[in-house]
Symmetry: C2
Subunit: 220 residues, 2 copies
């Protein structure tokens, strides 16, 4: 029963049309110098979610109010120090605040999910699980929109869906479906991203909830 418990956290954001995850560089062995998820040992009297949020704050400076549990990763060989089970958490943030390294981390940075360096432990696997969860969530929740800033353009939204679903979407179809769903409110604002200015939109969560109740989901 000499099993130790850590709480780790996958924080995703979507900026500059790229899905990113918050990572820290390990100061200590094992895997010293490698990038890893923020996280660490759960204190004896500490709830799991609290431990994850505390480690996140200590190692990156990012303060979040809540994280959902992603799952426990308990492969007996995942940590060279012995049997250490990780309870992984997931959080989505819209604007990516600049992280600052602290405690056991010598660096903290948002890295593109699609171009990750070699990571410590099974953290690549944990991030894959988190991505899968995000993919599922995109179907039946407002998760996708949590990653975007309040105002976004259709090209940004498309790129987000394409990144998370990991496949090319038909642009015209995507826009037609979005229009049919009627969950986006067009604003009288434009932003220049590509060649021409793109109109900005706002997400209408209440409309989305109503569609969900009617059983109409996101068939992308």
């Amino acid at each position: 029963m000499a099993i130790c418990l850590t709480a780790d956290i996958v924080v995703f954001t979507f900026t500059d049309a790229v899905l990113k995850v918050l990572l820290v560089r390990r100061k200590k062995p094992p895997h010293q110098g490698r990038m890893a998820l923020p996280g660490g040992f759960v204190s004896e009297k500490e709830p799991l979610e609290k431990a994850a949020l505390r480690e996140l704050k200590e190692e990156t400076g990012l303060r979040l109010g809540a994280a959902e549990q992603l799952g426990s990763f308990g492969d007996p060989r995942r940590d060279p120090r012995g049997r250490i089970v990780s309870v992984a958490h997931l959080a989505l943030v819209a604007a990516a605040p600049a992280p600052r390294a602290g405690s056991n981390a010598s660096q903290a940075a948002w890295l593109p999910v699609k171009r990750l360096p070699p990571l410590a432990f099974d953290h690549k696997h944990i991030i894959s699980s988190a991505l899968e969860r995000l993919r599922d969530k995109l179907d039946y929740s407002t998760a996708g929109f949590q990653l975007l800033s309040q105002k976004f353009s259709l090209p940004e939204l498309e790129t987000l869906y394409e990144t998370v679903l990991d496949r090319k979407l038909d642009k015209r179809n995507f826009r037609k479906k979005m229009a049919l769903l009627g969950i986006l409110k067009p604003l009288n604002e434009w932003r220049r991203t590509g060649r021409k200015p793109a109109r900005l939109y706002r997400f209408m969560p209440k409309k989305f909830e109503k569609l969900k109740e009617e059983g109409i989901l996101f068939p992308f």
Copy 2:
């Protein structure tokens, strides 16, 4: 870091038109004599899912090939012995095999989810979480049908949905939707349950998968 880890398991089945969960009576303190989920301490070199399935077999005689992870329950006060975190698992079985008590259990029985006795630890809470997961799954997976025997009547199916969703469904609407979805194959068999014999059906998983791909889900 003196944290211990247990693996517990919620096994649901649906028989005699009642949703049931598999429980065991504890032989030892704490909560000696109370009913509890099958489960116990994870061995040092044992994967979490394996631990849950091993405990299930030891305490109830039920052998399952797999269980999905439900989540970790880590409230610091959930166990009077100290900090013990439970990694809870979930499994759905169709025909409820008669359990036989073993190892740390003096009794093993399928009990109706709606009329549970006082349970050990936070096991009532864990069962609620499992029910919630099952409710979500009913929307986007074949989970509901995993709980039914291969052949079932429409009244049985209705009762299953009503139990899991915890609300009355309109009988005619339910049948109309099921017919529209076309995922049930009528058989030339009838079973007497109520006043008159009810026709038996079989579930067509492939049709269901196809509907899912098209984004047509279960709006009950």
